[in-house]
Subunit: 304 residues, 4 copies
């Protein structure tokens, strides 16, 4: 199990990388974040959380929310109701591409690209009365932090720049793979993306992925088999168009967000979250990826 | 560690699936194989090999040879000499597609699709005097079976139906990513694909992937880091367009061939090989995949 | 110049083809049309109109409206304001594909595929206060028929099935090539598509394309150069994915609609309109195309 | 009919454009041509040829040879034997793209992109004993110039850089749409591309396209209907990815080559050839296109 000192060493080691990436700037609310942040937190299956650097500072979780959404969908639907509407394969395309969705007649490749996450949001919308509220409540519960909020400025800003996601949703609707009002679902989707959490919050919230489906309080959120399957999907599709490189360098199932966060797990042992806002060319945190690589190497652990 | 009885149970469990897939028939030499075969072999890191069903019967390893080729390239070249010519990402396209190669200007997505494997063969051709001989010797050594041969009828038949692979090679050549004579490299490539091995041969030969790079005789073939990286690439790209589904169902890094073989590993523990000639729609052994799924489930093991 | 008898012969010749195509059925309002209709009308540059078959019966002009829209845009904007937002090349893709629009970063190939026509509608929306009214007035004036109307049932039905077109518009918006509210523009677009005209109405209205830009009343609508350019675009891009085949068989610049109408011109001589609701696999009127082929052959005329 | 003075004016008008394009440099033999050349020749259906500028200087006809090849195929095969193996539609892709050929399972879009021209060469190879000799003889006959030769240096240079074309041919072979030895057909193909002709030679040789299929000596080469169809295909697909723009600006069926030549016809009146080695971004002669535009404008002629 990692110790505090190891986390400090990891942060020290990658801090020189700050300045080499580029903060997401497609919306003003994200562009204004301080680029010089770097944090890491680890939660082990005994429930202990340790951290280093800016690991207590909240940031916009963005696409990391796709993990929570898929998990919620797994609790609301039978498996085949989900997997008949979204695939399980890496996309081989940019995270927001419409080409694949058109060529494969409205079926997104996996739940972690935008198209797939929008289908998952559409599924949740069909089943829940107040999906925004329920998703936030669920994430608060998972992290044990009742004060988590969704950043209204970020959510609104995303919505105002949502033409690409609207195009994806309407394209799927034209193939019969989107049932609710596009606008309503986009609002819910951006609400989840705009939730602010710290590395500590996220490593706690993701513990169920390391603990055969049991969350921080010991409650079985999804089954052990579902947990293993979720980790498999994260390993093959969790890092946009950089899943192969991430597996090669880091060797943990993981999910990144354009806010600079990355969560990752070593099944049976621990969940990890790193955060550093500057991104590499694939849209993944540059220093964050390096921190996870360093962490695995020093710990001598990997799933491979 | 698995016992003989468990392997027998796995074989019995999946035998009813025989008849549901389709033997590869793009060349006559493969089409004539008996479809009712099913075998499994496991080699643990203590060097023990056990098996069940037709695990001693040799079959055409086909694309499983791509693992041996990449391994040989790793022993001949610096890392950057390889990864500047082939990527590490899932392709999101059919295993023999030219679209991606054209759009990405001659750079194949990974070493396990045809385009990438041809680049690896081109690299080997540039460095070795007698690549066919050397590859066969290497595989004989890895499996501890000096009698292994490449099936001339299969190799010639592949060559006579090689227009698609020739197109891929020439396309890469047009982008400057193929240096040797296309015909010569294709001959070497098919020679390796046509090597005949049993499940027992293959599980032994692949032990280094489970044993941090050490082969059956304890010799360090590639480094522990390279082994971990190889397993990462197999997990994200080893099963053609079905890598996500395979990870989801089986949860082991693996590589399949159209001869019906699949190799897979649990790092630190064991290498496995299954064989059953009938393929599913992705070109992976139908009963073989089911056998691996059953094996992992009964053993309660997975990397996820 | 053609005579009445020739038109009758053309209609008789192609009537046996009725029953071989398929009426557009993507919206109920179009699916219910009588499939056994066939009409042809010709307007010569002296202003005379003759016809045969069901040439006085109004039908839904659908994509033929794209000719009127581009013409109106040419009267509202400078050339470069239009051609910086839409190209002049054949698309090589289905009329409603998003692939090309994504790959070419929001710039549609030409004004006669859906994406290009939506950009033209967006341009018109930016310049006119009441675009629906103005377009209808303009078409009434061109055809000399003040009673023309847009079919509300068809327009509403199109709108209710507009997900694909909405996806295209939002995709262009995401690239900065769509300025107005998507919903508003779609409403205008469908209003024009749903205008009902007969072959006689349409051959009269299109006379300006045959008469160097002068309409039926002798007024210069667009310049001779613009007219020649419009005909060039119709010849290369007017028939969806069947422009080459249409040029090969018919040899006239033309534009088709899924309502079964096709307009075509022999520059300097005449405008023609045929109508028959059953479509071929490219979405062009099956008997209508044959009628134009027969007409050109009997007349011994073609632009080639 | 144009007079000598008009041709001189056209040349004078476009000469200032020299220096704005880029000579084809993918093979050394083409890169060394003098860029400051500009010529134009016109042959009217009475058999008269006039010219201006460098209209008597021979250049490499390159893709203009595709017109001669298709014409020869039309004399050797039934229509359906040709059009079952190559389409009639604009490609919407770069002239040497493999994407379309793969997606449409080996069927090239039209006979004027490389893939289509290779299929035509394959057809000719199947029927003729000495296709290189026969093609040269035919072109000598058409132009009335027995001294025409194919430039061996250019042909060999093309062959040495033929990986892309080899890839296309092998891809079509993999779909069963290429019957002869790839190398042999490539040799014939490049032999025709490397034929050297002057503007005068080419305008004479192409007269049959303007004269309902009758060549300079009055012999019927192809039928009037075939001639009209050939012109239709040239209008929609003759200028690579710039067919729409060429129709818009020039308004004549035409075919360009990377040697800087463009042939064009006004059916019933005349054939024209321009030459200037510098190309625009679409690979068509920059000053040559401008010369044709100027020519049509001054003459007040166009097919539209």
């Amino acid at each position: 199990m990692p110790e505090q000192a190891l986390l400090e060493q990891v942060v020290d080691k990658v801090r020189p990388l700050l300045g080499q990436g580029k903060v997401a700037d497609y919306i003003p609310a994200l562009a204004s974040v301080d680029p010089n942040k770097i944090g890491i937190a680890v939660t082990t299956i005994d429930g202990t959380t340790i951290g280093a650097g800016d690991y207590l500072e909240p940031f916009s979780i963005q696409s990391i929310s796709k993990v929570f959404s898929l998990t919620m969908a797994l609790t609301l639907y039978e498996e085949n109701e989900i997997w008949s509407r979204v695939g399980k394969e890496p996309s081989g395309q940019s995270f927001n591409s419409l080409v694949q969705v058109e060529l494969e007649r409205g079926l997104p490749r996996n739940p972690f690209i935008n198209a797939g996450a929008l289908v998952i949001s559409d599924l949740i919308q069909s089943r829940l009365g107040a999906p925004k509220h329920r998703m936030l409540e669920s994430i608060r519960h998972l992290s044990g932090n009742q004060k988590l909020i969704s950043d209204k400025v970020v959510a609104n800003s995303e919505y105002e720049h949502s033409a690409r996601n609207a195009a994806i949703a309407y394209l799927m609707k034209s193939f019969g793979n989107f049932n609710n009002d596009v606008d309503t679902v986009l609002r819910s989707y951006f609400h989840s993306c705009a939730i602010r959490m710290s590395c500590a919050d996220l490593s706690k919230a993701m513990l169920y992925l390391a603990n055969r489906g049991k969350n921080l309080t010991g409650k079985q959120l999804i089954s052990p088999v579902q947990t293993r399957q979720m980790n498999a999907l994260l390993a093959t599709s969790g890092l946009y168009d950089g899943a192969g490189e991430f597996a090669y360098r880091v060797g943990m199932p993981g999910k990144s967000g354009v806010g600079g966060g990355i969560i990752a797990v070593i099944p049976g042992d621990m969940s990890v979250c790193v955060w550093s806002p500057e991104l590499d060319l694939n849209g993944n945190s540059l220093a964050g990826t390096a921190a996870l690589e360093e962490f695995c190497q020093r710990l001598g652990r990997s799933i491979f």
